[in-house]
């Protein structure tokens, strides 16, 4: 089952590469640099999905006390940090040629960085507690607080600083994106979600085996 998911992910990622580099047209203003978007945007969407699952796993654990929920939260937390890191690094590489700087304290960059720090803290907490029961309970509390804090961080940072283009896909108006670019983005998003599901399944399996020993 997991193996099949793995091969499906490989297929998706290959399709994503073809769609991003072959099918999608060169962007008029930015040129080829814009193709980083096919990594950047799916990565951040996957990260949000992951942190959503951390929240779900945390609440699930505190409500049921089943270790499976904790494994879900822990695995999703690790992969979420990975994909947030990927978002920040790819954004940095994209920012250098287009904005002329690796990093700026813009609202979205800042809130993504804060998100990254919150969940690195979450992983640190997990790594420092040996007792599985205490680890699951404490991590769940931090996981819930971290997720609930996301909108508060978002607004505070937005009012504090507002260079990053506003969200085009999730905005209320019809997206001004070229359909070919939109499709390439969609293919890559599906591929990343598959990759996430594969990582999650593997990581949870490893956690389960670790608990048995």
């Amino acid at each position: 089952m997991t193996r099949a998911l793995g091969w499906l992910t490989v297929l998706g990622l290959v399709a994503g590469l073809v769609a991003g580099f072959g099918y999608a047209p060169r962007e008029a203003v930015q040129g080829n640099v814009q193709r980083i978007m096919y990594l950047h945007v799916p990565a951040v969407l996957t990260a949000y999905l992951a942190f959503g699952l951390v929240l779900a796993g945390s609440i699930g654990y505190l409500a049921t006390r089943r270790p499976g929920w904790d494994r879900l939260a822990g695995a999703a937390g690790e992969i979420g940090v990975l994909f947030t890191g990927l978002t920040i690094v790819s954004g940095s590489i994209w920012g250098k040629p287009t904005w002329g700087t690796w990093w700026t304290w813009d609202a979205r960059l800042t809130s993504t960085a804060v998100l990254f720090c919150v969940y690195v803290g979450y992983l640190l907490l997990r790594s420092l507690i040996e007792d599985p029961d205490a680890r699951a309970r404490y991590a769940a509390v931090v996981g819930i607080l971290g997720a609930v804090n996301i909108p508060i961080v978002h607004f505070s940072v937005k009012w504090w600083r507002a260079l990053h283009q506003p969200s085009t896909i999730l905005g209320p108006e019809r997206s001004p994106i070229d359909p070919a670019i939109g499709l390439a983005l969609f293919v890559n998003w599906v591929a990343f979600t598959l990759l996430f599901a594969y990582f999650l399944a593997r990581r949870m399996e490893i956690a389960r085996l670790e608990e048995q020993t």
Partner: protein, 238 residues
């Protein structure tokens, strides 16, 4: 206790507040007798002021421009030390077990501890503000009332998460390191809101100009305290 379990309503509420009050009173009494935290924290604040002065140099304008940020940096650093210790005493003589065996809703303990931490932080903040006014010759007196509102809201936000995380990290090794690492990123909105609002108030802007920050702070406080009340019993178990 069994009496209040039988007749819910008013007596349950008063028993809840009473239990929170007992915790607060106990902590204040310990603090008054042992003076473990307050004295050292006050001295720490004074040292912080010297450090800021040495780091920024004698340029008065530069110092004045940096005051809102420095003020909150001071509160947060003092808070990290003060809040982080708030459950340390409970580890001795099986006090933790005593807290766990307390009948009724465990969130009353959280509320009492939170109130105690707010009292401690408020004391530290008043001293720091006065010291800032004296040493950096900033006029903190004119906007005193609106500033007090910002300070109060910020303190609740800081203490609400701080109390919850302190209870958690007390049981963990590398406690001194883990507590700030967990608390600081979560506190970014509180820091941004309070520093921006303090800056505007010191520039002489009316309270209405910072209303959005106050709303954000109030909302954040509400969320943090609610999460703290709901999850504290899970933290206390360990």
């Amino acid at each position: 206790m069994s009496a209040c379990a039988k007749e819910p309503g008013h007596s349950a509420v008063s028993s809840y507040t009473k239990r929170a009050w007992i915790i607060l009173w106990k902590d204040l009494l310990i603090e008054r007798r042992a003076k473990e935290n307050a004295n050292a924290l006050l001295f720490f604040c004074l040292l912080l002021l010297f450090l800021f002065q040495f780091a920024l140099g004698p340029d008065r304008e530069r110092l004045a421009a940096a005051v809102p940020g420095l003020l909150w940096l001071g509160f947060i650093l003092a808070g990290l030390l003060g809040l982080g210790r708030s459950f340390l005493g409970e580890r001795e003589n099986d006090c933790w077990e005593g807290l766990r065996l307390t009948p009724g809703d465990k969130s009353a303990i959280y509320l009492g501890k939170l109130a105690g931490n707010c009292v401690l932080m408020t004391a530290v903040e008043i001293i720091l503000v006065v010291l800032f006014g004296v040493f950096y010759s900033v006029d903190l007196w004119t906007p005193a009332a609106p500033l007090a509102l910002v300070l109060g809201l910020g303190t609740i936000g800081l203490a609400a998460v701080g109390t919850l995380f302190a209870a958690m990290t007390t049981q963990v090794r590398a406690r001194e390191l883990l507590f700030p690492v967990l608390l600081l990123p979560v506190q970014v909105p509180v820091l941004l809101a309070t520093v921006s609002a303090t800056q505007a108030l010191l520039l002489g802007q009316p309270l209405a100009d910072v209303a959005h920050w106050l709303k954000l702070l109030a909302g954040a406080d509400l969320v943090y305290v609610t999460i703290g009340l709901l999850t504290f019993e899970f933290v206390l178990e360990g």
